[in-house]
Each structure stands twice: as C-alpha cells, then as structure tokens.
Symmetry: C2
C-alpha cells in the first residue's frame, strides 16, 4: 500500500464548538471557510457492543491448522511481486488465482489491464449478503542489504513484541490478506459453506498508485455494485492494543507545473549568462510568481477563485465522530512526533481537526531549477518545475479543482505554464452506520480494549472506486500488528508475547471468521 | 578568469533616443526608472587614430626570439595551478616570482593571504609613468579525458585557424600574460630599460572569485594608488579580427535564501506527510512567497523599496559610447545566439542597451526543495533554498542593496528566512578618455581593422579594486585570439593562417611593446 495510506489520523486534539461553513469567493481577499462543530455528542465505539457470536468449531480448526496457515502466508511472501520492477508479477497473480480456486471460488481469473493484470474471484455461497474483498498483490522494491533477514525468505524472527514474520509484504499487504483467506478456508473446511458470498477484485499496481484499478472494476462493475460492502484486510492494531478504523480519505490532485522560455520571452534552448536578466524574462521567477499567486502570503489560504466552493460541512455523524477523536487524543503528541511546534494560525482542538479533515490544501512537494550545487554559478535558467498536490475533502471535485487552477493561471498571465496532471481522484466516505462498519466495530470490540473510529484521514487513497462509483461502504479492517511497510525489516506479528495486548495470527483469523458471520447477521 | 568575464557585451542593438532617469519609490507600484540617451553623437574608435610609434629594433628581437618566448609560455602552462584543488599553486606562484626576478624586477615576492599567496613585483624604470599589471596565475580544473591533447602538455596543435597552443590556461590567462612579459623582456634586452615602471599584483584565486585579492592590495595600496592605470593582458580579438575593449562591469551581490520550519511553524526536523499541509506551514511556499514579494508579477521589476535609488544615469561619454555600440551591432544576432526570441517588454535599441547596462537585476540562479525525482511523492518538505544574484550598475552600493533586501524580507513576514551572503562588490568604470585607454585604442587601431569600445558589460568582475579603491583606470587589453576557457581543448592562437585577420604571438608581443611606449608618451 502507499505511504499515504499507512498514515493514521492526525487531527487528534481536544475541544468543541459550533457549526457553519462560510464561503468567501472574493478573489482579492479570500478567506478559508470556517468549519465548526455544533454538537457536544461524543462518539464511543462501545455503544455498538461486542459481537456476540461464537464459532468454536472453526476457532479450533484454526488453532489446529495454524502451522499450515503460516506456510500459506510464507508461500505468498516468498514469491516476489515488485510492481515497480515487474518482478514476479504474473507469477504472483497466478498464485493468487490458484489459491482462490483451491479454496473453492467458482470464478477465479486474471484480468488484463493496460498495466499489470488484476485478479477476479467469486465465491457463490448462495447467501443473502455479499462482501467485496479489495486485495493488492504487489509489493514495494527492496534493498536486501538493509534487512536483518532476507526480504523474500519470510523467516520467523524473534522480536521484542514476540515472534514476527519478516518479509517484504508481510504487513503491506500479503500477511493480513492471506490470513483472511485462511479464515475463509477454515469456515469452508468446517461448515462446508460461507455465511456470505465473496467477490475478490485484486490489483498488482497499488504501489504504483493504482493507475489501472478502474479498468478492473469496469469489467465487473454491475456485479460489484450488488455487494454490501468492501473490506481491505489490514493489521490495524497499535502496539497498545487499540484498534483504529478509518471511514474516509481525502481526494487528491497531483500535478507538475513547468515554466520554460518561449516565444513570449525567456531563454528557449538552455540556461544563459545570469547578467542577461536585465533583458530576458526568467522562467524561474515566472513559476515562482505563478505559485505565489495561488496562495495568501502565509501560504495557507488558496486564493484561486471558488476553490473552497462546494466543501460539504460535517454532518451530524461526522461531528460526533470528531468529538470522539477529540476526547481521546492529544495533538501535542502528534506535533511532537512530526517535529512541528505549532499548527498554522495557532489552531487547536476542534478548529484543528475540522481544518485537517474538511479543508482542501495546496502543497508544494518539490521544486527545482537552475544551479543547485555548492557555491555560486550565475545563470538564468531556461526552465523551472514544481510538483504540487491538493488534498480534496468531500464536495470538491478533482476535475473542477484542476480546471479552476488552470483558469486562474490563464487569467493571471501564466497561460504559458504547462500543467501536467499526474493523479486526480475524489474523496471517499463510508458511514459509521453502515452494516459493514457496525459489524467491524462489534468484532473489534470483542478482540480489543478500545476501538477508535476516525471519520476521515487527511491522507488520500482511491477508495472512491468503492464508495462513490460502486456506492458501497468500504473499510480497511483487521486486528493484528505489523510495521515496516516501504522500509527494511517489514514484519507482521505472528505470536505476541503472553502479556501483549495485540492479536496474533490465530486471533486475527478468528476475528475475520467473526466478521463474515457478523455481516451475514446484519 | 571566471565565465562572467569571458562573456562579451550583450547590448548590441540599433537606435537612439533621449535621456532621463526617473525614480519611483512607491513600493506598492514600483516602476523601473526610464533611462534614455539624449545625444546623437556616435563614438568611433577611429577618432583616436593609430599609434604612430615604431620600435623596429625590439620587433626584430621578438621575431628572432619567438621560439624561446613560446617556451616561456609552455613552461607556465606545463606547471598546473588549479586553485580549486590546490594543485601546483605554490610552485606556480614561485615560478612567476622567479620569472619577474629573472626579467629584472627589483622587487618580487610572494604575498601571504588567508588563501593562496599573491605575487608582488616592482620594476623601477625611473620613469614618469607607472603601469599596474593585474595577473592571475591560477587555472580551472580539467577532465583530461575530454582533451585532444593533454591539458598540461601545452603542445602545438594544427587548427583551422592556424597553429594553436593547447593547454589549460592557454588563453585564460597564462598565454597572454607571459606574452606580455616576453614583450617586457624584449624591451629590456634591446633598450636596457622600460619606458614605464611596472607594478605586478597577481593572485592565485581568480577562479575562486578573488576572495583574498583585497588582502594583496592592502599591502601595497599606497604605492598602487600612484599607478597611472592597470591592464589585464587578454586575447581580446574576435575571429573576424575586431578588437573589443570593455571599460566597465556591473557589481554583483550573490546570496542564498533558505526557509526552514521553526518555532513559528512548519516541520522542523524533516519532511512530513503532505496531507499535513492542512495544519502545517510550508517552508517551500514561504520561500516562494518571499521571492515573489521582491518582484513585479512579470518578474522584471524589483519592488524592494528604494532598490533603484542611486542609479547614476549615463553621462555624456557613456551615451556616446552606447550610440557607438548601437551603430555597429545587431541585437537579433545576440538573441539568436542566446536562443531568446524577445527581450523583456519588447525592448529594442537604445531602450535595451540602457536597460542592460544601467538597470540592477534580480535573478534566481537556482532553487530546490523536496522531491524532484520521477513520478509523485506527497511530502511537505521542511526546507527550501534558492540562490539569487543581483547585478548592480554604478551608483548602487552592494552593502546597501543587501540591507534593503533584508529589510524588505523583515517587513513582509519573512524575517525568519536566512540570507547567506556569498559575494558582494560594486561596479567598476574606466573612462574612455583616460590616457591608458587612449593608448590602448591607438595601439588597437594600429593592429586591427576595427576597435569597438563598450562602456560596460552586464556581467561582473571585481575591478572596483582598481577603479574605485585605487582610483586608477583599468582595462583588459590585448590583440590575439583564444577560446575554451573553463572547457576542454582551451587554446591560444600562436601562428594564424596567412589570410587570418587575427594576430599571432609575435604581433601580440609587439603590440604590448607599443602599449608601454604609448602610455609613456601620453
């Protein structure tokens, strides 16, 4: 999964207020809308209660077959599948398809795309409810020399938390995904049938930003729309045992802006001597002025006309959830972990969490031009480039946002600046009241001391495919713990030390069993 | 010599106008002063006439000893003296000192500085006039594999222009400098005495930006002030035979601006996830806004209060010289050679040359921050850095310019942005009417078809040490041709093909003989 994705909720603060969204569309003095919370009601996951079902026959089967289940995960981990390098991709896609067939899926096939293939699977249990599984079978690249155990050896390693399975993909995402299928297999082995139908729509390009996942959805769209929800198996516990559920993500547009000398001015071929600035336009200053024109002087308010239009104010549910986050978190801890001394404008509490979750951003991820080495070199560069992104809360359409930026540039003397779109998708939101999320919270309450429900993260993931396009609830879900995604020594905790508040492999699989039954019973 | 230095005059255009400098100090809507030419008088170097003296006995001596003179140059070129790598520096300084003693200088000594040593020499001819020689004994680094003849072999190579001497330093600057000393030696050998006294003040750090040259001047300042002028031996002919004299340079300030997260906001330790932009100040946008605040939206007018104050309008002499440049040059050729389609604001002719030579600039030489690789990475960088320079015409003091920038940043919310000064020195100007320049033009007229006299170049060199500090005229001077300074296959033309309009070594040395007599006779 992408980094933006392993990132957990930031707006973890403390206070309450009252609600409104005020729009200002005066380009000359744009102000950010003020978003307020006007309820004192505080969400607590305990209101859902614990999932009461018990499936001891299946739990016993899992305990008895745990060694084999671990081998299943290791088999996946020992098959490299690095999407960025096209290493082992087809082999892994076929391994996933074959495992689905072996488990008893009636349909399992590779799905051609313009990139790496997807994998489709369907298990018809003749059940009333259908659960969609979003899976990714690709992993990040590795630098093997940085690992204490080889990244594709998938060996058990002793760690201070207990026995861990160390490998690229151990937690991101093969470990929890194969654990889920182990649970599915166990139900079928013991009961002969699943309580819900399953649809698998897996991709091999998540680490590339899911560029062709929409093509996979295309093929099964009408069938997928009938699902009751989608989950993404995930080790969502923290070392303290608490379980975090994330119900929404912001959208994002990511683009490059590039200024070059052209017929209107500036050096067109290459850098020229810096003294010519007296007679020659500077593409670097042109880009700087263009970016500067998009924000207030402090860089924190987007002054592009209408950019804040359409922000959907937090509904009652979101306000109550935000109050829940505010009641149990401390933003000083978040600031300390980031190395940030103060939020912008000195925001705190409810003001900070609403800003984080409901405001679009404009951020410069990188900029470069000219001479960047030691000492002095006096040149007038012929080009300058910047990477920018804008995070979009619900209500702001990515295509409209891109168009407003283009219009703004055109209207302010920057029509010659090239805008290269690199990514664009909207926010996604799932309701805490959806049966899938209610089932997930109930199961979470059964296995952990505390479930925190975050209405949204400030980061982005293309979950709109599920929530907006297919119109179904979607939640990453799972107990268990892992770390090291995108880093050396990635692992998933398999057998925690006895005093640990975190689940091991057996409990993880049992909780997935419970989730399927809990959903069936909703 | 530095690149800024080998660069020749750009403002080579066509037209006339009328003069004024209008200052605007309204920071809100600053306009660049309008500088106009209000005379139709056109300078022509032919008005000076040719130097009439003839020194056949010395010329014959040069012709008879030319092989030995070439060996003298080769001896210098075969001694590497790369200042940036401290390679052969002391050996070259001692070689220069020893050559001065061998020629008959009564004083010749190394001058300690905080960097590489200088070399001082004095030849007392008991003459009325004294000429200062500015010499540099260091050279640029080399990539030997790029050379057709090894850079320190100093071999004669056949070239389409004739026989050339190929080596690092051949034209920049050992070749013309040792040719000058060959001429001096020849006069002494034939006449027993020089027509002028000579003061040598050489440095070994020109390629580093002359950071310690002021320390060399310090030691001999009172004596140097008595000189009648300074020359820098230079192969100033173009392949078409024309000789270009440059009478002035702009000053420069070069500095880095750096924004970092700090107690006031932004990430202080390292980049953070880009989605935090909703709550965290961006040092990149902070730097962009700071730089943007310094110029008009088109990047071409400096809106820092008072930045244009003090510009000295072109005097009568400069106007006449500019008209001379305008009459003989074509700015379309310059634009084509640079790959620039249009000067800023569509300037042409007199408007362009006055802008080039009399207006300060603000230029971004480089800028960098965050992620600059392929694809997308969503980060909020903790720092951003830019390199800027400002070229300063006569009348603008570099210390005041730096202070105005600092004050502007402080007054506009950018007090936390660090400003790192890297270079700062004022413009330098020599009058065409000074006896040294009149002598140089007369000698130029004797040996070439056309001498063009440029009142100033838009580039910078620290010649204020001569013109402003010592108060003496200074001009880089010499016939002959060379190229490849700072590049592979640097050479100086020694024996041009018969039809060539460019001087070879013998003529170069004869012209230096003439220059010394011409100056003595002024």
């Amino acid at each position: 999964m992408n980094k933006r994705w392993t990132f957990l909720l930031a707006g973890v603060l403390a206070a309450c207020g009252d609600v409104t969204v005020e729009h200002s569309v005066d380009a000359a003095a744009v102000e950010r809308p003020k978003i307020r919370i006007d309820t004192d009601e505080v969400y607590s996951a305990t209101s859902v209660g614990q999932y009461k079902g018990s499936h001891d026959d299946i739990y016993r089967h899992i305990d008895a077959n745990l060694d084999g289940h671990l081998v299943n995960i290791q088999r996946w981990l020992r098959q490299p599948s690095i999407s960025a390098q096209n290493t082992g991709i087809r082999e892994m896609a076929e391994l996933l398809r074959d495992d689905l067939l072996a488990i008893g899926f009636q349909e399992a096939e590779l799905v051609p795309t313009d990139g790496h293939p997807g994998v489709w699977g369907y298990y018809d249990a003749g059940a009333e409810k259908t659960l969609m599984l979003y899976l990714m079978y690709d992993v990040q690249p590795v630098d093997p020399e940085d690992w204490q155990s080889p990244p594709f050896a998938a060996e058990l390693v002793e760690h201070e938390l207990g026995t861990v399975l160390m490998a690229r993909g151990a937690t991101n995402q093969k470990g929890p995904q194969r654990a889920f299928l182990n649970a599915v297999q166990s139900i079928i082995d013991v009961r002969g049938e699943l309580p819900v139908n399953l649809m698998v729509a897996a991709e091999g390009e998540e680490e590339l930003g899911s560029p062709h996942y929409p093509q996979i959805i295309d093929r099964y769209e009408e069938r997928l729309k009938a699902a009751d929800g989608a989950i993404f198996p995930f080790n969502s516990q923290r070392p303290d045992g608490s379980l975090s559920l994330l119900l929404g993500v912001k959208g994002i547009i990511y683009f490059e802006l590039e200024a070059r000398g052209n017929a209107g001015g500036g050096p067109t071929r290459a850098e020229i001597h810096g003294s010519y600035k007296a007679l020659v336009d500077s593409p670097v200053l042109h880009l700087i002025q263009a970016i500067a024109s998009m924000t207030s002087k402090d860089g924190n308010t987007i002054v592009i006309p209408g950019y804040y239009d359409g922000i959907r104010p937090p509904n009652e549910e979101e306000q109550v959830l935000m109050n829940g986050v505010l009641a149990t978190s401390n933003d000083d801890d978040v600031k300390a972990s980031l190395g940030v001394d103060t939020w912008l404008d000195g925001l705190t509490g409810a003001d900070a969490i609403t800003e984080l979750l409901f405001m679009p951003t404009l951020n410069v991820d990188g900029i470069w031009a000219g001479y960047t080495g030691e000492g002095t070199k006096t040149i007038l560069p012929h080009m300058a480039t910047a990477k920018l992104d804008s995070r979009l809360p619900p209500g702001i359409d990515p295509e409209e946002a891109l168009q407003k930026i283009r219009n703004h540039l055109d209207a302010n003397g920057f029509a010659d600046i090239e805008m290269r779109r690199m990514s664009a998708y909207p926010a996604a939101q799932t309701s805490v009241n959806s049966p899938l999320v209610q089932a997930a919270i109930g199961v979470g309450n059964k296995y952990t001391e505390r479930v925190s429900v975050n209405p949204r993260i400030a980061g982005s993931a293309p979950f709109y495919q599920f929530t907006e396009r297919l119109g179904i609830p979607m939640v990453p879900f799972g107990i268990g713990y892992g770390t090291g995604a995108h880093a050396p020594n990635e692992f998933m905790l398999i057998e925690p030390k006895p005093e640990s508040p975190v689940a091991g492999l057996a409990e993880i699989e049992k909780s997935y069993v419970d989730l399927l039954y809990a959903l069936a019973e909703k």
